[in-house]
Symmetry: C2
Subunit: 182 residues, 2 copies
Amino acid sequence: MRILGVDPGLRRTGFGVIESDGHRLRYVASGTIVVPAEDDLSGRLKVILDNLRQIVRDTSPEFAAIEKVFVNANPLSTLLLGQARGAALCALADSGLMVHEYTALQIKKSVVGTGRAAKTQVQAMVQHLLALDGSPAADAADALACAICHAHVAPLADRLRDNGDHPAFARRGTRLRGGRLV
Amino acid sequence: MRILGVDPGLRRTGFGVIESDGHRLRYVASGTIVVPAEDDLSGRLKVILDNLRQIVRDTSPEFAAIEKVFVNANPLSTLLLGQARGAALCALADSGLMVHEYTALQIKKSVVGTGRAAKTQVQAMVQHLLALDGSPAADAADALACAICHAHVAPLADRLRDNGDHPAFARRGTRLRGGRLV
């Protein structure tokens, strides 16, 4: 399966595309959408919308994954991030992709093996798991980590669903929190 | 000129379309997009995106206006509103409309004549100015008030720009705050 991970932000939105055959991961593409600061808000959101839709057309992912955000200490930052995230989710949904959301804890656990991993550890593991020559930019690395998390969690979610052990989980989609179903 | 006002929200997004010939206002359409609560977040944002784009296609506005929001006391509400607002702005920009933002104070001043007006006063004035038989629903009334604000403020902004008195203002677009240029 081919997975697009997105790390939305109003100034920089990272993206990363990987493939997984259930055992091995393969890097496809990654990068950062740099949003012009001088545009008005709707113009900046349209840059995110247009570029993400183009990335979906170019790379044809079957799944999309995005980090579940928690509210920021700064309410204005929360509002700005919310708007950028809204634009990113619109682009993915508008491209016909179902979007899976994962918490930072899930992503760290899935990529590094512990929820207490530092950002640099996550980036190093992304580089290792995808056999990259160099370290991707921070936003792109976060997006790739999110895609890797989906590659790891989605097969587990499918097994749980197939077993019929967790009808509530099957109804709600592929969300895990700290190993527990939510 | 034909103006679409939008009052975004993740549960209900109001919209209102009016026409202005510079002197008189005419009601065209208004309503509320009710977003299904059971959908996942990206699905709900897509409902806002799709419906607003359809409304633009159906009513062919030349301008769009939206209330400038301030951060909410509840950070989670701020995040949710931010995402809904991001979807609404994407829909407008994706439809080729330039979006004008007005503060609640500007809207109240423009519609009622005072920034201290109560919500019910704004709704009554919307009904009066547009010669409506009944009172529109709250979200639709807020959206219509925002469109009326643009009808009142935009010609003034154009005059200021034509006079060349305020080059900084001309550069930044049609924003007024409390009668002063920002």
